[in-house]
Amino acid sequence: MRRALPILVVLAGLLAVIAVAQPNFLAPAALLAFVKRAAPLVILAAGQYFVIVSGEYDLSVGSLVTAEVVVAARLLDGSAEATWPVLALLVVLGLLVGLVNGVVTTLLRVPSFISTLGMLLILSGAIFLWTGGAPRGALPPQFRELGRGSLGPVPWSVLVLVAVAAGAICAMRAGFGHTLIAAGDNDRAAALSGVHVARVRTVAFMVSGLSAAVAAILLGGFAGVSAQVGQGLEFQAITAVVLGGVALGGGRGSVVAAMAGAFTLEALFTLLNLYGVSGALEPAVQGVIIIAAVALGGMSLPRGRAAAAS
C-alpha cells in the first residue's frame, strides 16, 4: 500500500477536480458508472503488471481483446445457447495466447517487445482475414449482461473487477508474486536461487492473456462488436502501469498501484471529456503521461548508492 500512495493521492485529486466540474459525480450511481467504465482497463493493467514486474512487456493484449470479441460474436451469432461454452473458450484462448507469448519469449529467447509485437500483428491479421474487415455475427443479450447488466445496484463488471483485484493481490502476496518480482529484479540471481524464471514469466504472460479475455468479455457486452474494440488498449494498459510507478524492466512496484494507475488514466480521460477536449487528443495525452512517468521514475530512483558503499 505504501508504494501505491502517490498514485492514490493523484487519483483522489483528479476525482475531486471532476467532482467540482460535475457535482453529482460522487453520487454512488455515477461513481459506480465510472468504475464500470474503467473496469476493462483496470483488469488489463493488472494483467500487464504481472508481465512488466517480471521484466517483460505484453503488447499483444489490444488485438487479443479484439480477437476475443470478434470470435465470440462469430461463434454465437446472436444465439444464447452456447454462451457459457463460448465464455470458457474465450478464457482458454486468452491463456493460450499468453502461453505462446511466454514460451516464445522465455524458451526461444525472443525479447518480449518483439514476440508480443509479432503476436499483435498475427492476431490482427488473422482477424482481418477471418472477418474480411467487417466483423460478422452478434453477441446475444445473455453474453452482454456481464458488461452491461448489474446485480441490484452494482454492475456485474464492478463485481468482476473486485474479484480480479482480489485475485491479483493474493497472487502477489503468495510465493508466486515474490518469485515473479525476483525474476524481474535480477533474473540470474533468481535462477541461481532456484526460481524457475522461464516458468514464472510464462505464467505472467498467461495471466495477461487471461486478463485480456476477461476485459474482452466486459467490453463486448459494454460496447458491442467492432473490429476496433481493443485498439490501443495495450498501450493504455502499459501507460496505466507505468503511471502507477511500476518500473519498466521489472522488479519494482505494486499491483494495487498499477490498478490505481488505470483508474487515474480513466479519470483523466473523463476530465478531458468533461472539458470538451477532443477525444482525438487522448493518445497525445497518453504519450505525454507515459514519457513523464518514466522520466519521473528515473529521477526518483535513489542515488544513495555512493553514500552507502564507501
Binding site: G175, H178, T179, I181, A182, D185, N186, R188, A189, A190, A191, L192, S193, G194, V195, H196, A247, G251, R252, P302, G304, R305, A306, A307, A308, A309, S310
Partner: protein, 481 residues
Amino acid sequence: MHDCVLKMTGITKSFQGVRVLDGVDLEASAGEVHAVVGENGAGKSTLMKILAGAHAPDGGSVEIDGRTVVFGHPVQAQRAGVAIMHQELSLLPERTVAENVFLGREPVRRGLVDRAAMESATAELLDSVGEESFGPRDLVRRLPVARRQVVEIAKALSLNARIVVMDEPTAALAEHEAELLHTLVRRLASRGIAILYVSHRLREILDLADRITVLKDGSRVTTADASTMDAPTLVRLMIGRELDSYYPPRAAEPPGPVKLSVRGGGNARLRGIDLDLRAGEIVGLAGLQGSGRTELAKALFGAAPFTSGEMTPCRPCSVREGIAAGIGLVTEDRKAEGLLLNQPVRDNALLVTRATRMRRPGIERLLERVGLGPLRPTQEVRLLSGGNQQKVVLARWVAAAPRVLLLDEPTRGVDVGAKAAIHELTRELARDGTAVLMISSELPELIGMSDRIVVLRDGRIAGALPAGSTEESVMRLAAAS
C-alpha cells in the same frame, strides 16, 4: 619523496544528513604509494570520489601541486592530472585497447579519427609499462581482468596523470596476477606518480605502500609509514578493537560422513574431477583465475552441470535439482548473480526457501543467526554495505539448511569486521554438520579457514594439501606448468 603533489585538508561530506567524511586530511607525494584503508563505510570511496571530481565536498580544500582546485565534474579532475581506476572497470568490452585508451579524446586528422596515430601512441604506452601480452588492436573483451587494468593504467598515463587512484584493483585478481599489478604500481611510482591505493588486503598494503592512512567512521585515525605498521595494528586501528585471531579454530573432531562425492566429473571446462565433501569439514578450493574454480562450484550445484562422471547423491542438471539435492551456492558476483538489489532484506533472505517451497524459518531469527540482528527486514538491500549484503546472501542459504554449501569468494569486497563474522559463521555451519567448499583468491584466508585444500589447474585437480600448508606449496601446485 617530499615533493607534495596532493594535499586534501579538512574534507567534509554528508549524504542525506549522514556525515560520511568529517574533516579528513590526506597528503601524497610524487612517487609515493599511499594506501587508504578502513572498513566499509569508513569513507574511503567517498574521499576518492571527491578527489576524482565525482562528488563535491561540503567543506575543506583540495590542492594539487600547491594550487587549490575545485572540481565540478570528473573531466576537470582528469585535466588536473587525477586518474581513477574503478572497482568495476569502466572499459568498453567490444572496443579495442587503443579505442579505450583514447575514448572521448581520439586524435583527429582531417575530421576523421586517426587510427594509426592512436594505435602507435597506445603501443608506446603499453611498451613503457612493459606489457607484451596484448596490443592496441586487441578487443578488451578478450583480455583477462588483470590485463584490463593495464589498459586502465595506459589510459591514465596517456592523460599525463600526476595522481592515480586505484580503488580495490586486486579484488578480482588471483594472487599471481595481483603480483603483476604490484610490479606495475611500483613502476608507476618510480616515474614520479603519486598513487592512492585503496584495498582490503592488508598484507598487500603492507608490502606495497610507503605510507598508510587509516580511516574510521569518516575520520582519519592516523597516517603512518608502512614500515612502522603490522597487520594486527592496522586491524586494531581500522575496527577500533583487537581481533585476537584472524580465523576461527578448525574442527576439533575428524570430519563426518561424505555428503557429496564426484568421480571423473567433467564438462567443457573441467576434466576428471574427483572430490569428496564431508560433514563438518571446510575444503578450500585454490587455483589461479581461469583454472575452473567457479566452474567447479557451478557444476556441483547444477548451474553449469557436469556432462560426464558420477556424482552422489545425484548429478544435478539444473539449479533446482541441485537445491533439491541439498546443495547451496553463494556466487562470486554478489550484485550480478546474488542480490535482488531493489528488494527488501526479507525477500532476499527468503528467496531460496520461497522459490523451492521449503519450510521457512522466522526472519528475525534468521537475521540474528547471520549477524544481521539489528537490521530491519524491510530495508532495501541496495542501501546496505558490502559486508551486510554478503550476509544477506548467506542468510538465504542458511534458511535453506543445505547439506553442502559452496562459497565462491564469500568475503570479496567485504570489510574486516564483516569478514571475521563470515568466517565465524562458515565455521559454525561446518560444526553443525554442513559440508563446506570455499573458494578464495586470498591465500591467507583460504589457508586460515580450510581443513583441507584442493588445488585446481586448467580444469583439473592438481593436488590436495592438508590444513596449514604454506602459500608457497599452494602456489606451486596452482601455477606449475
